[in-house]
């Protein structure tokens, strides 16, 4: 195994110095996701205003891959129009599901290209996706027709 292909410098940096960590107000939706295999968890909040991802904040415990990928996520999506951010998420998902067979689009993914090596380790793909899937769900809720979103988010909080 090329261990370096997994633990790229960028990943270790984000792991040791995570960006966007800590739950913040205000937010429109909060979700809680779990990796059933290992129990890693993330609680993630999204604030959307005028079609822009205004803020993403999170808290949780997990391995270097899950922590770093959530940190990179916040860098990439905060400040972007929702549609653009969703495109980034989709590209990241495609890369993770590629089993190493896809060349990542550096234009879109920026720092997240460092995770290309993870796609060769199926058991770690879930780690890399933990924060991203949480963000996707939270954003869906935050942008759902008014009334519906707040309710779902509130239910989720009640369950968390």
């Amino acid at each position: 195994m090329r261990l370096d292909s997994l633990y790229q410098e960028i990943i270790l940096d984000h792991y040791k110095h995570p960006h966007g960590r800590g739950l913040r107000d205000p937010y429109d939706a909060e979700v809680h996701h779990v990796n059933p295999t290992c129990g890693d968890e993330v609680t993630l909040r999204v604030r959307v205003a005028d079609g822009i991802v205004e803020d993403v904040s999170y808290d949780g415990a997990g391995c270097s891959i899950s922590q770093a990928s959530t940190s990179v996520l916040t860098d990439l999506v905060i400040g972007k129009p929702v549609a653009d951010a969703v495109a980034v998420q989709e590209e990241f998902l495609r890369l993770m599901q590629s089993k190493g067979a896809v060349e990542p689009d550096e234009e879109v993914l920026e720092d997240a290209v460092a995770f290309a090596g993870v796609s060769k380790y199926p058991s770690r793909v879930k780690c890399a996706l933990l924060g991203w899937m949480a963000w996707k769900e939270a954003t869906l809720r935050a942008t759902a027709p008014a009334g519906q979103d707040r309710q779902v988010a509130a239910d989720e909080r009640a369950n968390a």
């Binding site: 195994m1 779990v34 059933p36 295999t37 129990g39 380790y121 199926p122 058991s123 770690r124």
Partner: protein, 414 residues
């Protein structure tokens, strides 16, 4: 042969077919509806898995675990593709078809939009295998529901004349066999499923005898569940499958609880994994899924169409030959139309056990008994039948050996 299948080449793939029995007679294996033999490719897949990749799956981060997980999930991909499942996540591995059918019957007892209760009705048929009768009897008994069933006509077909009395607004489930393991009958499942869906019932197809023999397409059948078993389709023992429609599977409660089927476990309560894992508790038959994947590759390599054509051809030949045996009565459709490759019969005045025993002595392996479908025997007023069943490796010579064997049976019991 008139079909595209080169039976002699196929036979070389099955080590057991070289076996000699009783005083060096060649084995004539006519018991494939009971269990099929296994090609070398499946045995190699099993051995290769254990010798190189064995590990538990979905749990560890080491290379063996990654390989074993990929091999297991690869098995799922292959099986899902074989039955044209809309999604691989709808394909649940079980230990056999019986567990698959019990999974459905058992979860319907508990709270869900599909829960069965007093006053509800479950409809099966008189030609079901016990594995598609007893689970529903238990469900009915435990929930206060009523079990009803389609009868069988004299020529071994489903009697659909009272379908509108049987399938009504009270019907919650219709469960029936696609190809009968005793009579050989191929049932019009798509038409019955359409009627059942009109009244909002779930439809379960027992495809144990169909999946090995012919192209089966869950979407074309229009059912909600399809059960089948690995050991009858060139795969190992210890594995079966249940395909279910996502919307239904997602709303059913869990069946077995334990490792792997969970999302989060707290002492105070648990949440469950997404499909298919929600229904796969504990360490699954991992090597068996790999072996079954190899069996699917083997079958699709030959082609299910070619296998079905061979099955029709050999069954037709067998029916012809058996028609010529005095005192022999076919139990089930006695033409090759809409039927699979299991042919049950009785021989006047000689008990099927004795028929089978004498056949065994000349190397011909068949099964005698009620074939786990005793109500079929009751229906025809008999105790048991002798059943010869065929598969892709069966030759006309073997059918001839059966017919010659029946002469020997008569000689012994003259």
């Amino acid at each position: 042969m008139t079909t595209g299948l080169d039976v002699e080449a196929v036979r070389k793939d099955f080590p057991i077919l070289q076996r000699r029995v009783h005083d060096d007679r060649p084995l004539v294996y006519l018991d494939s509806a009971n269990t099929s033999q296994k090609p070398r490719a499946v045995l190699d897949a099993l051995a290769g898995h254990y010798e190189l990749h064995n590990a538990n799956i979905h749990r560890a981060q080491h290379v063996l675990a990654e390989e074993a997980t990929a091999a297991y999930e690869g098995g799922r991909d292959k099986v899902a593709a074989l039955i044209n499942a809309p999604s691989r996540d709808e394909l649940i591995f079980t230990k056999n078809a019986s567990e698959a059918l019990n999974l459905v019957a058992n979860t319907l007892a508990w709270r869900s939009p599909y829960q069965v209760g007093p006053g509800d009705e479950i409809v099966i048929t008189e030609m079901e295998h016990h594995s598609n009768i007893v689970p529903w009897q238990l469900l009915a008994e435990r929930t206060g529901a009523t079990l009803r069933w389609f009868g069988i006509t004299d020529d071994g077909r489903l009697d659909l004349s009272n379908i509108d009395e049987l399938i009504t607004e009270r019907t919650k489930v219709v469960s029936l066999v696609l190809v009968s393991n005793t009579l050989g009958t191929l049932n019009p499942v798509a038409a019955i499923a359409a009627r059942a869906h009109e009244v909002g019932a779930l439809v379960v197809a027992d495809a144990c005898q169909a999946v090995p023999q012919m192209p089966v397409d869950v979407t074309a059948l229009g059912v909600d569940f399809l059960a089948f078993t690995g050991h009858k389709m060139c795969g190992p023992t210890g594995i079966g499958g249940l395909w279910g429609r996502r919307e239904v599977l997602e709303q059913l409660p869990p069946f077995l609880g334990g490792g792997e089927m969970i999302e989060t476990v707290r002492m105070t309560g648990s949440t469950y994994a997404p499909l298919p894992y929600k229904f796969e508790a504990g360490t699954m038959p991992i090597a068996e899924a790999v072996g079954l994947g190899a069996a699917v590759d083997y079958l699709t390599g030959i082609g299910l169409d070619a296998i079905a054509a061979h099955e029709r051809e050999i069954t037709s030949y067998a029916l012809d030959q058996l028609h010529g045996v005095p005192g022999l009565r076919i139990v089930g459709p006695d033409t090759p139309v809409d039927r699979g490759g299991a042919v049950s019969f009785t021989l006047a005045g000689i008990h099927p056990h004795d028929v089978a025993q004498v056949l065994d002595s000349v190397g011909v392996a068949v099964r005698a008994g009620h074939h786990c479908a005793r109500p079929v025997c009751d229906r025809f007023g008999i105790q048991a039948t002798t059943r010869a069943s065929f598969y892709l490796y069966t030759t006309r010579d073997e059918v001839d050996a059966l017919v010659r064997g029946l002469d020997e049976v008569k000689r012994v019991f003259a």
